[in-house]
């Protein structure tokens, strides 16, 4: 087998594939629709990695990256550059938007050692913007989460809520105490609190894991429904 040239192997595989497709469609095992076939081939090619990394997966991995690049290429043109740059410049005469183009050329000097300062300047400005947004984000994210953490530990309304609030408070404080770095956690209270915090954090993370299972499984069901009911007509015909 190994002495056979790769081209010949590929030809034989393709021929066998064509026969299967023809017979499959002829005897109505598969749907006779180009779109469904393409989707099915893509689906199976990706699933093939579950056996092991192989020629087909590698081929479709590259097609996938190519499609994604093409997709970004045209969506950036049609959804960003056309409405936000070309229209203001060409239709509304806002000539100063040309500076956006000039500025972005500074990013292109990454490959040149001599002009690398331009890239640094452009990237530096963007880092400044993201740092600014990071500082703003601190307030906008902290505010609502902090406000929602003020839960009364004793309430006449219902003991259930009171117990929940106490547990909420204990979890919040102990988990926070686990994340102190700048001193050795030697004192028994600190040590105990940090350890309890770590355990409660594990409960929290386990719950997130379990809660995500349903969403992920429904993605699988979606693909299997496609393969078994739409592509394979055997089960699909009701």
């Amino acid at each position: 087998m190994n002495r056979m040239p790769a081209g010949l192997k590929a030809l034989i595989a393709l021929a066998a594939f064509a026969v299967v497709v023809y017979l499959g469609i002829r005897y109505r095992v598969f749907a006779a629709n180009l779109g469904i076939w393409l989707a099915a081939i893509c689906t199976l090619a990706i699933y093939s990695i579950l056996y092991r990394e192989n020629v087909v997966f590698r081929f479709f991995e590259h097609i996938f990256i190519g499609l994604a690049t093409g997709y970004s290429f045209y969506t950036i043109i049609t959804q960003v550059l056309q409405p936000k740059w070309w229209v203001p410049v060409a239709k509304e005469g806002k000539w100063y938007w040309v500076f956006a183009l000039l500025f972005s050329t500074m990013f292109y000097t990454v490959y040149s050692k001599r002009f690398s300062w331009m890239n640094r300047l452009a990237a530096g400005s963007f880092m400044g913007l993201s740092a600014g947004l990071g500082i703003v984000g601190f307030t906008t994210v902290l505010g609502p989460q902090m406000a929602a953490s003020f839960k009364p530990l004793w309430t006449s309304a219902s003991p259930y809520i009171a117990v929940n609030n106490i547990l909420f408070f204990i979890t919040l404080i102990t988990v926070m105490s686990y994340f102190f770095f700048s001193f050795e956690q030697r004192h028994p209270v600190v040590k105990g609190s940090a350890r309890l915090g770590r355990w409660l954090l594990m409960v929290a993370l386990g719950a997130i894991f379990g809660n995500t299972v349903m969403g992920r499984m429904s993605l699988l069901i979606d693909r299997l429904q496609f393969l078994l009911l739409q592509w394979l007509q055997v089960f699909g015909r009701h």
Partner: protein, 314 residues
Amino acid sequence: MQARKWAIVAAIYAVSGLLGAVALWGLTHLLSPVFRPATGVAFGLAIAASVVLWIGLIAVIHRLPAAVKKRIVVTATFVAGLFYVLEYYLPAKSAVFFWRAHHTNPFSPMIFTVGDAVSVIFGFTFFLAAFSLSLVHGKSIAARRPGYHNSIAFFVAFIMMAVFGLWETYSPDTTLIHHIGWIRRVTAHQVYDHLFNSMYVPLTATLFSVLSFYMATAAFRAFRIRSAEAAFMMVAAFFCMMGQVPLGMWLTHNLPLHGPLSHLRMEAMANWTLGVISMAGLRAVTFGVLVGGLAISLRIWLNLERGAFFEQEL
């Protein structure tokens, strides 16, 4: 000594903050008579002048010594960050903005322009990405490296998607093939539809769904009771998995829907774990992450960061 150094640094930032604020405001407001839409010859002249000005500026900076260039980068970082900080932390209306018609925050109107400018500039940098990808695959094809047919596949997919995506947007009904053999009338839209809905979408959805398989093996391996931590994680995951499906809910469906016993129903326990413990635990993590993010933002903004990008020579 310490106190003096501290005071000097604070003073430098205060002064440069003030100057930066004035510069930011001045650039857009004092120059606003210049930055007006133009038509015809004026438009062409303005574009030409901008390009010349820009190139001149670049040429001047390029001749400056490395230390000055570094200072320019640091200043640009500071001013860029300052914009968002001033916009957000100064109030919407204040007597401080005495020169404004309704004493409104002068930075707020700019925020949309800045947002647009950022997305446009990022849009232009995408071509750098496309270029570097094409370079890698082009080299691979040119050198006939093993597996170069994959690179050809990359180019075919890339070009087809880009071309038909644009075609789809601007003229989807263009007929590509009128009649060849048994193929009848193929439009640009049909080709795009097959590329997008029959290839890109299923590829994405399938890779996403591979997660479900990986989740199974991850659970199989990770939830072994090797320690108290693993046990806690497993028990919580168990309740949350069972609380969502009929099978799990069936186990406790005899318990009443109301009253104290209702809290022992499978779905109630799952929701309780999520709503009380998970919520508190993740919130504690988030608080830490927020402070960490604030610290690194401050270090970058004020040029205090060390390592990586920040200490390279220019």
